[in-house]
Amino acid sequence: MKTRTLCIGLLIAVAVGHWILAGQMVLGSERILQKGTPYKFRCAPLDPEDPFRGKFIVLQFDAAIFKTDTGSNFQTGQAVFLLLKKDTAGFAHIDKVSAQKPEGNTGWLTTSISYIDRNKADTIQTLHFDLPFTRYYMDEFDAPKAEKEYAHAVTDTSRRTWAQVHIWQGEARIAEVFVRDTSLRQRFGGSK
């Protein structure tokens, strides 16, 4: 009887643990979307060889690379902080890459270096980052149409394809993807 009561008590505690886990994911994301600073990240053309993976759109961004001199001591896989700035058109770019966590709640993003390219003279290195907002999930039947639309739009020279991303304390959440300045969800129906 005592063992059964203990098991029931522990099961309730575990259930509370599950809710805390789910709650952290939901409330954490909501906090980033509500309190975070919105940034516009311009989308880059996709590698046409990439197959369509699942019912989401794979996003790539101009801001996913940063050139620096080879004197800076960065390694593949290293966790870094990207300090962001906005250009005259309001699009986000990387201003600086730092190994130290910056101060303040906004203006910087936590990520890691996926790989490093060096030029022939070995004077400049290009850092490529794993940005934490490369997937945009949509309705299963709308996603293929949206993906085609998106893939076509990113090659548009006027470059009006971008993602609105909210950033708070280094974490990011995608709010919306815009193709030719129109929200993908509005273009294909459905609510927020």
């Binding site: 575990v14 886990l21 994911m25 994301s29 019912k55 390694q75 907002f133």
Partner: protein
């Protein structure tokens, strides 16, 4: 009671082999045994049904219904989790001894944890990676195994841990994790041992055996690195030696049937396979060529893991088979020691290494053949002949042997197959 047994009982009664009272006692014994065992089919299909339903619900929700608001989608995403938790709680309160309820509710809850995490990630476009997702799911699901005493949740956990071990262990260096899997496996060990002690012959216990064996075989290789990763060939052989010893122990102490004993199956087959691979000279020649420039890797994790596994297998062999000489010699028990010798020799003399592997396999085949003949066990006799035949086939691919020699070997093996089997069957018939 099976209808065949009932028919036989009726026939024996009619022919006067059994009297009415004895036949009735036998019928009563079977009925009692059936009542004591849970209805296995009901359990299998019940749990399978639950797993399919919860997975189907997860897929349905993954459609990502854009007509729903984010808040509503979130509520729908956590609903399966809530249902699972309430179901488990009610089971513990009202039907704690009902195995079908415990297994079904625990299976539902175990899967719904993963469904909930996935769907919330989808709603909020949370990036994450497979490693982090699996680890979170496993840690959240582990208590369900113990609290609900659920074997299905236990097997799912071990399978999940194996997936994590492969995903994290074989990842690129900067996000590789080769140690967390072993902690995850250690966490389920008390449950696994409890299953072996309480239901040693249960089919769910057998599933646990298979899950653990496959997990270990898949994940051990992830600790290999340069330099030194090549030591894991010997490491795997020692681990297979330990598997075989454990399999024999379970077979002897619990009368575990062959098909429910993957430790023995994997240990025997894996040891034989590695020896067969090691019987090719070209294998060791190329092995050395790949190693050169790598160094001997004395300080590598692979080397020390191999040392520990080999010492463990040797110590257990000596301890469990202290009166080895009085027992029939089982060549597969010491196969890992022979392989260690072959492996150490290959550094200097790959030709001699391959020769010793061939010699050991031939000896093993002959020993099994003689033992099968002596004990009049066709299975063991043919196992011995099978080893010799496979050895002959392997040598067929060795280009150094002439066609004449290969032909003679094949004819000899074929004649042996026919002769020994015929002799054994004839002797059995006479007896």
């Amino acid at each position: 009671m099976a209808s065949s047994i009932e028919k036989d009982l009726a026939l024996m009664e009619a022919q006067g082999v059994l009297n009415g009272d004895t036949a009735q006692s036998i019928r009563h014994w079977y009925l009692q045994r059936q009542a004591a065992q849970p209805n296995r089919l009901l359990l299998v299909f019940g749990v399978l049904g639950v797993l399919l339903v919860i997975t189907g619900i997860g897929l349905l929700l993954a459609h990502n219904w854009d007509v729903l608001s984010k808040a509503l989608k979130t509520i729908v995403a956590v609903l399966p989790l809530l249902i699972g938790q309430v179901w488990c709680l009610l089971t513990l309160l009202k039907n704690p001894e009902n195995e079908l309820q415990r297994e079904s509710s625990a299976a539902w809850l175990a899967i719904s944890i993963g469904v909930c995490i996935s769907l919330i990630s989808q709603i909020y476009h949370i990036e994450g990676n497979m490693q982090g997702f699996l680890l979170t799911w496993l840690l959240a699901g582990l208590p369900v195994v113990y609290l609900m005493r659920s074997s299905v949740a236990g097997v799912l956990y071990i399978a999940g841990a194996a997936c994590y071990g492969v995903e994290a262990g074989y990842a690129p260096a900067y996000r590789q994790n080769t140690w967390a899997f072993w902690l995850l496996l250690a966490a389920i060990l008390p449950w696994y041992i409890h299953k072996i002690r309480t239901r040693p012959l249960g089919w769910l216990t057998a599933l646990h055996h298979y899950a653990v064996v496959i997990a270990l075989l898949l994940v051990l290789g992830s600790i290999g690195e340069k330099p030194g990763g090549f030591w894991l060939w010997a490491g795997y052989m020692s681990m297979l030696g330990l598997f075989y010893q454990l399999g024999n122990y379970l077979a002897e102490t619990q009368q575990l049937p062959f098909i429910s004993n993957p430790w023995r199956i994997a240990g025997w087959l894996g040891s034989a396979l590695l020896l067969f691979i090691g019987s090719f000279f070209d294998f060791w020649k190329d092995f050395r060529w790949n190693e050169e420039g790598e160094g001997l890797g004395w300080q590598s994790v692979s080397f020390w893991v191999t040392v520990i596994l080999t010492l463990g297998a040797a110590a257990n062999l000596v301890w469990r088979h202290r009166t080895l000489l009085s027992h029939r010699f089982d060549p597969m028990l010491t196969a890992f020691l022979a392989y260690l010798l072959v492996f150490l020799l290959h550094f200097q003399e790959p030709g001699i290494a391959a020769f010793i592997a061939n010699l050991y396999l031939l000896g093993a085949g002959v020993l099994l053949l003689l033992h099968g003949q002596q004990q009049q066990r066709i299975g063991i006799l043919n196992l011995g002949l099978g080893i010799i035949a496979v050895l002959a086939v392997c040598r067929f691919f060795d280009t150094e042997l002439s066609f004449i020699l290969r032909g003679l070997i094949f004819i000899t093996v074929g004649i042996c197959f026919v002769y020994f089997n015929y002799q054994l069957i004839r002797r059995k018939k006479i007896q």
